[in-house]
Symmetry: C2
Subunit: 110 residues, 2 copies
């Protein structure tokens, strides 16, 4: 089918999964790492940095924008992408909270 049955899960579960899904591609990890590294915002030299075609990078940027991690400002003829810090904190919180679900109990195996 290829179609996830989102209706049967909670909003929280869907949110966590959607964030993870967007992070679930090495190109998108590479984009975020590059933006983190260059400090100043970057636009299309991601195409040079990463070895993917321009439409492909553009598509990955769209995915990242979809959940709000990145925002893009028009800067002359190019577009400057950078982190949306507020949204990033939210996403970080959501994931960090999830990463602690096993912290309280003794998950000893049977």
């Amino acid at each position: 089918m290829g179609l996830t049955k989102s209706e049967i899960f909670s909003k929280k579960q869907n949110d966590i999964a959607q964030i993870a899904k967007v992070l679930g591609h090495p190109a998108r990890i590479a984009i975020l790492e590059h933006i983190a590294k260059v400090e100043t915002c970057i636009c299309g030299d991601l195409v040079n940095e990463i070895g993917l075609a321009q439409p492909t990078i553009s598509q990955h940027l769209k995915e990242l924008k979809k959940i709000g991690i990145l925002k893009g400002n028009i800067e002359g003829t190019s577009i400057c992408y950078c982190l949306d810090e507020v949204k990033w904190e939210e996403i970080k919180d959501t994931l960090q909270q999830f990463l602690n679900i096993f912290s309280n109990q003794n998950n000893s195996c049977c």
Copy 2:
């Protein structure tokens, strides 16, 4: 194409992405949450808990086993799934490290 060009990315980038990809489905989040909640390990009542068919749950469990989050012990006629605590710590570390990539700089936008 549907085929990720893993060769052009670092092992770390591929690792992070693979973990995120596995977590990128609400059913797998639900499975982990349920195992966290019931403390003791659980097997096939995930099918009842979550509203998906048995083969579907089995497939999702396989994905989770693939990156080692879960391990399954044969317990009579059923199989008891539970967290692989060592592996979970590794996965948690990998993700937590990634979540801090933006912590050092001032990612002010252009």
